[in-house]
């Protein structure tokens, strides 16, 4: 008989199949090695397709106020993480100040380019939470007119009316946004944008009041937002997003 009785019983506990080793007190504990289940990190192909989106908040704002815009965006999906984006839109403003009776009107296209970064840890999710940055610019003409200007001391009067004043303006945006899957490739989402002017071109007789794509220049910076209808275009996307699992191995391999 063995001087040392080794009683080794292995039980199945739950789904983990962890071995339970019962030893006598006099037994020496031999080192064991636990090998964790190996799951190979899934691979994401670099190119994940394109995303088309359209903003529906801008037209609603235009219906409720003096200005607004409509825009669409084409976004490239790289590894579900990086999203280079191009946004093109059309902004319009027709405003008359109640107190000064000065009118400003413009309508022109605008352009933005930038990149979004998906900050969710799980890049395989169809929902996205992202931060990003944009460079925007618009080259446009505006009309401005107001009451006649009268010299209170020397006398004389002249109308204040200018048409087709040219301006080329640019700005930067910091973007925070959310995008959730609604059905198949159709998503909806919103973004909040902090905008900072870079260059505002204007003639000597008037400063630019509204910049298409930026908004009003009443403050040195402004906030904006979009509510997007988004459609994922997966054509050209390689089907490499496989998550091959190696068989789970449990070992009591002794050294």
């Amino acid at each position: 008989m063995l001087s040392l009785l080794l009683l080794l019983s292995v039980h199945s506990v739950g789904a983990q199949d962890e071995p339970i080793v019962v030893l006598n007190e006099t037994d020496t504990i031999r080192p064991t090695k636990y090998i964790a289940p190996l799951i190979e990190q899934p691979k994401l192909a670099l190119f994940q397709g394109f995303t088309l989106s359209a903003d529906i908040l801008g037209p609603v704002i235009y219906l409720l106020s003096d200005y607004g815009s409509t825009e669409a965006a084409l976004r490239l999906n790289l590894k579900n993480t990086y999203f280079p984006i191009v946004e093109v839109g059309y902004g319009k403003c027709e405003s008359t100040d109640i107190e000064t009776n000065i009118s400003y009107s413009t309508s022109a296209p605008f352009f933005r380019a930038g990149i979004d970064f998906n900050i969710l840890k799980n890049k395989f999710m169809d929902n996205r939470l992202y931060v990003g940055a944009r460079y925007g610019m618009s080259s446009f003409k505006f009309d401005m007119s107001g009451p006649a200007m009268t010299d209170p001391i020397w006398g004389g009067s002249a109308p204040y009316s200018y048409h087709n004043a040219k301006s080329t303006s640019s700005w930067m945006e910091v973007v925070f946004g959310v995008q959730v899957k609604i059905w198949r490739n159709f998503h909806m989402g919103w973004s909040v944008r902090y905008k900072q002017k870079l260059h505002i071109g204007h003639p000597s007789y008037a400063k630019t009041y509204y910049i298409p794509g930026y908004g009003t220049t009443t403050d040195t910076s402004c906030w904006g937002g979009t509510y997007n209808l988004i459609f994922d275009l997966n054509w050209g996307k390689k089907k490499q997003n496989k998550t091959p699992l190696r068989p789970t191995s449990i070992g009591g391999k002794n050294e």
Binding site: G155, F176, T218, T220
Partner: protein, 193 residues
């Protein structure tokens, strides 16, 4: 997520920004006084500034031997009763811009919207001759924002002065707007003690 909240908070702080309407609503050309050596001075003489306006007006001139000639816009019978001889004449219309100023380091004077040059006449309490300053300028309307209203801005082109109390004058900032910067240096005769 905590990092994201910090970033958003910082963005919100940066977003606090000011309205672009100018604090000063009036546009004036700002004249600062210096002595002949260029030292800023507080001008102790009592002086008034009038500017010539377009057109002419009727003036009544009263003269009496041994007395100062008096010019008024309206007839005054008290001078006739006192032995003055009345002469009716015409003179350029004018208006008072600065009235009996004293101990001033600077004056703010409006500019005309549609004239190519403004003529300012400085009259002094203790100097018999007045000084005339002629400022040539270009003017253009300007709207900062529709809510701020319209203003006329000016670009100073040249300045000429007479020499009763003024040595010379110099344009230091030709753009006249509502930023209230120093536009013209007036160098007075004499040196500050």
């Amino acid at each position: 997520m905590k990092r994201l909240l910090i970033i958003l908070s910082l963005v919100a702080l940066v977003a606090c920004s000011a309205n672009n309407c100018p604090l000063e609503n009036t546009v004036t050309c700002n004249y600062y006084f210096y002595d002949r050596e260029g030292v800023a001075v507080k001008y102790g003489e009592t002086f008034s500034v009038t500017t010539l306006l377009p057109g002419y007006k009727t003036v009544y001139i009263y003269r009496k031997l041994g007395y100062t000639t008096i010019t008024t816009d309206r007839p005054d019978t008290t001078y006739i009763n006192a032995g003055y001889a009345e002469t009716v004449s015409t003179a350029r219309r004018d208006t008072l811009l600065v009235n009996k100023a004293k101990d001033r380091t600077m004056i703010q004077v409006p500019m005309s919207y549609f004239n190519k040059a403004d003529t300012l006449v400085f009259t002094y309490s203790s100097i018999s001759r007045p000084d005339t300053i002629i400022v040539e300028h270009d003017s253009y309307p300007h709207v900062e924002l529709p809510e701020c209203g319209t203003h006329f801005y000016h670009n100073l082109r040249s300045i000429r002065v007479t020499d009763a109390a003024i040595d010379h004058a110099e344009i230091v900032n030709p753009l006249v707007n509502n930023e209230k910067k120093e536009n013209v240096k007036i160098y007075l005769n004499g040196v500050a003690e």
